[in-house]
Amino acid sequence: MNEKIRLIVRREYFSRVRERSFRISTAIQMLIVLGFAFAPTIIQAVRGEPEPAMVRVVDASGTDIAGRLAPYLGSVTDDGASGNDAVILAPASITADEARAEVRAEEVDGALLVSRDPAGELRFDYIGTGGMDTLAQRVYAAVAAVSLQDRLQRAGLSERELGTAVTPPAFSVGTADAEDTEEGAAAIGARLGVANLMALLMYIAVLVYGIWVAQGVVEEKSSRIMEIMVNAATPRQLMAGKVIGIGLAAMTQLVPTLVLGGLAFSAQGWVAERLLGDRASPTGIDFSALSIEAVSAFLVFFLLGFLLYAALYAGIGSLVSRQEEVNQATMPLTMTVMIGYFGAVFTLNGPDSLGARILSIVPLTAPVVMVSRVIVGHPAPWEVALSVTLLIVTVVLALALAARLYRSGVLMYGQKPSLRSLFRPGMAKVAR
């Protein structure tokens, strides 16, 4: 590497890594990652066993409806309720008005009045919050099943025939792609999870560290050292050194956080089991979808995407004079990054749709979207090649533009350079 670039990289790197704020923000990032990994488990452990909902059943039908509802909802009595979402059915021989009073007094969460009309049809009246809330929906699903059983029974089906009739059918979810048919829903879920995570990671990295680059340029501008720097080295060397140096500082913060995150999410199941015992439900991200293909696509596009946005942020940094203006000036770029991210999220639903294909070629959105497509969809090899090529060309152009804006910034201290002034004849003849 060019000696001057090496010196600049070193300065940019160490001046950031040695800052106290660097250590603090690294610690905060790590805490956030640990929080995401363990917070659900810990919250569940602290809250303890959730109270199951209690529904009073007033059965005037003469058949044991509460007993028949139990398999669909939970338990008939207090003990023996299993799972977090069991509903306790409490049959009692009280009047409908008494049941209403219980609901009003919040002694129970709801009351189900069961009766039979003269034709023999079951009739259910549910008294709850009044709306079709989650509990009411679950009660409805259960009574629908029980009422179907009841009708079949009255039509004369035997106990065995009845059992077959209410068994759920075989049902699977797949995609239209031939390769996916072998794949279970779990594997597809894992790939979606990984793609989502990678998109989020790129999005956050570009936003956070892109701003670092813009601030680094503005720092040189506001401290007025720029003019010495362009005398000692060329703007291209300065830009390259800055982007690489800040990129390395970013990696120094990001990689340990990622490793910690990986370990934390891997340990999630084990921790949940220790804390919650058999109440633990399988959560977290399934890393089985991390193929070599996915990881290499991520690395290539992450690198190129970072370079592209770093150069653009540097260019924007050259246009402003004070740190306070950085956020406002970088707004359009931030919006572009967000469009890329949401594009990637929508891509997950239709990875090979026309929209996704366009977004995965356009350099500004390609890094995030193409990685998602590689993981979830089936981009043609030429699409990937075209995307990478366009991205490299754009990175080179963006760096040249940034160097030019940096140079113009030196010559126009204190002025707000308009786009036109950057290209007027005098400026066009900037040296080196």
Partner: protein, 317 residues
């Protein structure tokens, strides 16, 4: 070995910032580049440094175009001061000198020597933002010279220095000159320039209006100054009667007369003696650089009081 600027012109849109400027700076001599704010000094300096390129004309160092000269040959103290506020003094100077291309060992040696010269060795480990303004200025100067450049371009190196620091800076200047460096410096402190420079050029609205070695420039107006005083007559109007003599500035204890040559000066002296006056002071001198400067940029020299009522320079934007 000389820095040669030949017919250099630079335009920004409709504005001709530098118009057919030529001058030559010899090594081992201090060249004062003088002009009002906006006259074209900084633009010319940036072109010498190859930060800007001229529209026409050539700039050569030792016969070679400045664009081909190594960056290490140039030391630059910009008018807009600037250093990384959070780096320590030593770190910062090492970084910049190495960036210019100096070797590690040479940088350490120069660092020790110059820190001693400027009495700032105890500030090595301090951050620049913690230093006094005068010390920041000295560090800024070191940032321009530590890589041992051959050509020093210093934009107002003395502005903002107290007399003690200015004296240290002046010693440094003279030492660099004696080492054979080529030094261009711009200033508004003309009395100091008169004392320090071997050569000057005065630039006005982009054009060189006077230039050459300082003696020639001071005589270029075709006028000499007589410092004259007689007892009991603070303002001797009668000298105006001597053909060719004009009454100039009135000073504390004498008046300045402007005369075209020594012959007229002698006539003034004779006239005084003939009137029976007691002549207490009679001295023939060249006009000060300050007077020549004002005359060159179109201000009449008698209009301003050179020594006492100089207004502070407005801050250049």
């Amino acid at each position: 070995m000389a820095l040669d600027i030949q017919g250099v012109t630079k335009r920004f849109g409709a504005l001709t910032a530098v118009d057919d400027v030529s001058f030559r700076v010899e090594p081992g001599r201090i060249f004062g580049f003088l002009g009002t704010n906006g006259a074209g000094k900084t633009t010319t300096m940036r072109m010498v440094l190859d930060i800007l390129r001229p529209d026409s004309g050539t700039i050569t160092w030792d016969g070679a175009p400045n664009t081909t000269v190594s960056r290490q040959a140039f030391g630059y103290l910009p008018e807009e001061r600037g250093l990384y506020p959070k780096m320590t003094v030593a770190e910062q100077l090492r970084f910049l000198a190495r960036l210019y291309g100096a070797s590690k060992a040479a940088v350490e040696r120069a660092l020790d020597a110059w820190f001693d010269h400027f009495d700032i060795a105890e500030n090595r480990g301090k951050r620049v933002e913690q230093l006094s303004k005068g010390n920041q200025q000295k560090v800024q100067f070191l940032a321009a010279i530590l890589h041992d450049p051959e050509i020093l371009i210093l934009d107002e190196p003395f502005s903002g220095l107290d007399p003690v620091n200015a004296a240290q800076m002046k010693v440094a200047f003279l030492e660099l000159r004696d080492r054979g460096k080529t030094i261009i410096y711009s200033t508004h402190q003309l009395d100091q320039a008169q004392e320090m420079c071997e050569d000057v050029a005065i630039i006005h609205r982009g054009r060189i209006v006077a230039g050459g070695d300082i003696r020639t420039v001071r005589r270029s107006m075709g006028t000499r100054v007589v410092r004259f005083a007689v007892a009991d007559d603070p303002l001797p109007h009668w000298v105006e009667a001597v053909p060719g003599a004009r009454l100039g500035e009135r000073r504390d204890d004498h008046v300045e007369l402007l005369v075209p040559d020594e012959e007229v000066a002698q006539r003034v002296l004779r006239a005084g003696i003939d009137r029976g006056a007691t002549v207490t002071r009679f001295e023939i001198a060249d006009p000060s650089l300050y007077d020549v400067f004002l005359a060159s940029v179109g201000r009449h020299p008698e209009l301003a009081d050179a020594a006492t009522t100089r207004t502070p320079e407005p801050i250049a934007v």
